[in-house]
């Protein structure tokens, strides 16, 4: 039960983190009215994943290993693009908020409104199919007792609870710290998703270098341990990482961090203040 719980925790953690930051951000910027868009994205991803997972589990339909990896890898890289967009969208807000009284922010969502649903959708759908396959397989294995399903459900629940706690914390800290912390967190999470996507594409045979490992610390950080699970579930740290994954990670993190944390120019008077 513990082992299955850890799988559930890992699968649920990253999506829950991204969604909780998105929700905290909307609450902080006085846009609770946009929350349904986030929930639409989440709901659509959950429904789609469960349906596709059930079709693959209970009917003759099947995805080959390569197709699954290709799907996972592509969705991951698209998700990175959207999360990166979200990070800089938030940054622009931080700039327009500068000097304004905290709590009196009325953010104009602009084009961001539609994309909110997409970010939420992709964050959940990315690993949604794999999680759904895991849940359905656990449900199907009920012959060997209900332990696998209970464990899986428990792990997913804990990931949501952890994300809720993060949200509670995020709505309390001051706004300047909020943008710094959530921005940094999202960048590291997105870099991990990119690395994960690259690995999927390497496994699918689309990208080379699957066996050229930059490092392998699986002896020190076993992937099945609780800390290995947390590292994997949050920042997608894999104990055995290929060179291509490492390079992609660095090539993403360095410029994005530099751009995100460059000094905020004083908001140019009216034109760009409301995005």
């Amino acid at each position: 039960m513990l082992a299955n719980g850890l799988i559930g925790l890992r699968e649920g953690l990253e999506a829950s983190l991204i969604v909780s930051i998105l929700v905290a951000y909307l609450v902080r910027t006085g846009r609770r009215d946009a929350l349904p868009r986030v929930w639409i994205g989440v709901g659509a991803a959950v429904a789609l994943s469960l349906t596709a997972g059930a079709a693959l589990t209970f009917t003759a339909a099947s995805l080959s290993f390569q197709q699954q990896e290709l799907l996972g890898g592509t969705l991951s890289i698209v998700a990175v693009a959207f999360v990166t967009w979200m990070v800089f969208w938030m940054r622009r807000t931080a700039r327009s908020l500068k000097g304004q009284l905290e709590g009196k922010v009325e953010l104009a969502l602009g084009a961001g409104g539609a994309a909110l649903a997409v970010v939420a959708f992709l964050s959940v759908a990315r690993e949604g199919l794999e999680t759904a396959l895991f849940l359905w397989a656990a449900a199907q294995s009920a012959g060997s007792g209900s332990a696998p399903l209970t464990g899986a459900a428990l792990g997913l629940t804990i990931s949501v609870v952890l994300a809720y706690l993060l949200y509670r914390r995020a709505v309390k800290i001051n706004l300047a710290s909020f943008f710094k912390v959530t921005g940094a967190l999202l960048i590291v999470v997105a870099a991990g998703v990119l690395s994960y996507g690259i690995h999927d594409l390497q496994e699918a045979g689309v990208l080379p270098g699957l066996s050229s490992l930059a490092f392998d610390v699986s002896g020190t950080i076993p992937p099945s341990s609780w800390y290995g699970t947390l590292l994997r579930g949050t920042v997608n740290f894999t104990p055995a990482t290929t060179w291509l994954q490492s390079l992609a990670w660095v090539a993403y993190v360095l410029p994005v961090v530099a751009l995100y944390f460059r000094p905020l120019a004083p908001a140019p008077a009216r034109q760009t203040a409301s995005v």
Binding site: N4, F65, A114, L116, A117, S224, P239
Partner: protein, 126 residues
Amino acid sequence: MRRTAPVVLLALALAGCGGQAASTSSASGEPVRVSAGDTSCDVSRTSLPAGSTLFRIENTGSQVTEVYLYGEGDKIVAEKENIGPGISYDLTAQISAGSYDVVCKPGMTGDGIRTPITVAAGRPAP
């Protein structure tokens, strides 16, 4: 409605993938059973005909495991990660004539436990 458009597109993309692949799962005969334990990796048949083959993997151990089908030079032909204890998965793979290894990696680390299998050519096309 424009906010739901990308969602619908992705749904179609997913459905498209599933539909396309559906035809490949007409694996012949009995599935090959793989019992992946903490210290064992039992494969029910080690001589197989070429073609679409269904591997029914069951984690009989206490650790999370992963099962690979390696071809020549340890090229991954198929793989299933994160198989929790007590959980079964069906893995379909297209295999042609040659030598393969079924590899279970309890705890998802290390070189794993290998069982060599041989695939013979000559199964008539369906």
